[in-house]
Subunit: 208 residues, 2 copies
């Protein structure tokens, strides 16, 4: 196997060149999500992944060098999946505050359908700290960029900063944990509306 | 060793009866924070803890049955330490919004002095899921209780709920990660002021 730099996210998996290759890689990543999500990194095995994916061991090694490599690719894949899942709702919203509301609603929906997401991202803090850091740094930067674009359109306060972006990320992650992973006792839309109202009116007493 | 129920948090460590015993247990917990924080749960060892604490192996077993037990006690101890560290600032604040600002400022300060906090709480998700859940459920409940008390005094919106409490917890955890663990490039007070302003005025454009 050629040496791959551990910090080189692009080196986590080889890019498939054919449609069939893309389907195989997709099957391996989906199987890896189940295997790592259910068993944790240390107990998970490459043969467990290939068995779940219904692919040969050779196919696995066509795309990944090791258990570490497929885990690293999976963190990045889940991060991208979240981004892609929430993007249409954000884009369709009439303004940036509505976009943040749609983003949270869609995120909770995604989490409910992908309960392993947290286990995988959270375990990356221990298995692959660079992936963990990259996931949150990238997400915060994406939020900061869209908040600043909203500020430029006059929809968000002019002094919006990285601090607000990290605050919004924290809100989304923890509401996703409570109302997505732990229990589904409140509608995602209700949670998102409550937060949107807080982001517009604050949590102080009603203004006169 | 007597059997102890894994879910019984009180069973994580025996309560010392003397002042000397309390000092020994404190030394063991502080050493455990360093050992688990630096090496992670799997690589950490009881002998590593007793060596760091400067206590005999027998003293360890006076208070804890196993590596699992001391880890469980540590998660609870760090959770209590955070609560105790932020409590005076919260109590001294003139109103609930100022209290939330003081709480965040003090939390970031605590994290800067205890960088292992996140690694330990975060690893509990895998090592001892009950402790992980208890930590966040207890913290959210404490925040909800003080927000509702603030609402009763007319300092917080009347419809404040568990959703707001989880949002505030998410804000605190992620700003603690970014400005406490990752880098100290912004003053804790600046971060806390920015969030307090957001909690009062929202992130929408300035009101006319």
């Amino acid at each position: 196997m050629p040496h791959r730099d551990r910090n080189d996210a692009a080196g986590a998996g080889k890019t498939p060149r054919t449609e069939r290759g893309r389907r195989t890689m997709r099957a391996i990543l989906d199987a890896a999500a189940l295997e790592f999500g259910e068993r944790g990194f240390h107990d998970a095995s490459i043969s467990g992944i290939t068995r779940r994916a219904g692919v040969a061991l050779g196919s696995f090694y066509t795309y990944f060098d090791s258990k570490d490599a497929v885990f690293r690719a999976l963190v990045r894949d889940m991060s991208d999946q979240v981004r892609d899942h929430v993007a249409p709702g954000i884009r369709a919203a009439p303004d940036q505050l509505a976009a943040e509301q749609a983003g949270l609603r869609e995120f909770i929906g995604f989490v409910r359908g992908h309960k392993v997401l947290y286990r995988i991202i959270d375990e990356s803090e221990f298995v692959d700290p660079d992936s963990f850091r990259l996931h949150y740094a990238t997400t915060a930067e994406r939020i900061a960029t869209r908040l600043k674009a909203g500020a430029a359109r006059g929809e968000i306060r002019a002094d919006v900063s990285e601090i607000h972006a990290w605050a919004l990320m924290g809100i989304n992650v923890f509401l996703g944990l409570r109302y997505g992973v732990w229990a589904e006792d409140v509608a995602a839309e209700t949670v998102a509306e409550t937060i949107a109202d807080m982001l517009i009116n604050g949590i102080g007493p009603a203004r006169p």
